[in-house]
Subunit: 200 residues, 2 copies
């Protein structure tokens, strides 16, 4: 059973990015580091929680906003109750780091490059449990971006050529990720009050 | 400059431990997992922050307490202001995990066995920055417990044989660790309100 997850994605954006990129403009990608880097961390915590939505989302103190109110760095807590929770950290202001640490009752998982893999055709993760620590490698013939485009083309093909209905998996996953991204922003805007998700 | 730290120490205590150990008894080691496992995580975040005390300490929702009110699992946020913060997780209820992830503006640090090293005479940590990821090994002739006893004996010897005054470093480090442990407990007892440390 999962107990705790930490996920972070940060990168040190250039001065030019911090002044001119669409991700720091209120009228464009107004969710800033949360909508960009934070999106991946929230996908990670949903993934290790079997896509289950938490009960509450609370932004952590210490967010950094630019003059236009856009998030440049923030953290948040996601609480599933019964002692199961996750924290994330996302930032445009810190060294490139992309970690997942997931701790269960009987085992733990670590991934160090879950957003942009160090090796294009190799995904490495480490598990520990029962006194053993093991490194695992998954080899792919193609980079993850190519796999993503192939999957997207397959999904479109299913609808276009075979009359299938849209696959609900990615829709739900994307919607739930967005729901949590928006909840973190709501908590930041609301003086770090917890946002309750039941019924959403 | 440091931006964010995550540190966790958890282990899956046996049923016997959870019923009878002094660490789960209010009249004995009443700080539970926080005073035991949490102590190390707080040392870690102080260490990477040059021993500087944070401005505020806030327990995170999702603590697990036993029937006597002793912490079996909890998390907390430590905020140094200016966007620098740390989160910890400590637990008697989860698989053995002992991580430090420290993220600075120009580099990151990872340690996976900072409490009980996997190898007795070898300390391994990973740094990344400037596009490079490097693993570092520090070899010692003796285990860390032996080094600790030697350092303790040296400190006592300095006072006993050379008339030295007590070395302030370890006193300050221990006191500040205890201050933060107590602040997390205060926040848990106080409905997760932040505890302000200025002047303590």
């Amino acid at each position: 059973m999962l107990m705790q997850v930490y996920s972070c994605f940060s990168f040190a954006a250039s001065d030019d990015f911090l002044k001119h990129d669409i991700r720091v403009k209120p009228g464009l990608d107004g969710l800033g580091a949360l909508g960009d880097a934070g999106w991946y961390t929230i996908q990670a915590i949903l993934l290790v929680n079997n896509f289950k939505l938490p009960k509450t989302v609370t932004a952590l103190s210490g967010s950094v906003l630019n003059d236009a109110g856009i998030v440049l760095s923030c953290g948040a807590l996601f609480d599933w109750e019964d002692g199961v929770n996750a924290t994330i950290y996302c930032s445009f202001l810190a060294n490139l780091t992309m970690e997942i640490t997931a701790i269960g009752t009987k085992g733990s998982l670590r991934v160090h490059d879950f957003v942009i893999p160090y090796m294009e055709t190799e995904a490495v993760f480490t598990t520990s449990g029962g006194g053993c620590v093991s490194e695992h490698k998954v080899m792919t013939e193609l980079s993850q971006e190519a796999c993503m485009v192939m999957e997207f083309a397959r999904l479109v093909g299913e609808i276009k050529n075979r009359g299938a209905k849209p696959d609900g998996f990615w829709m739900r996953f994307s919607r739930n990720t967005q729901l949590l991204v928006d909840a973190v922003k709501e908590s930041i805007d609301n003086n770090l009050e917890p946002v309750f998700l039941s019924g959403r």
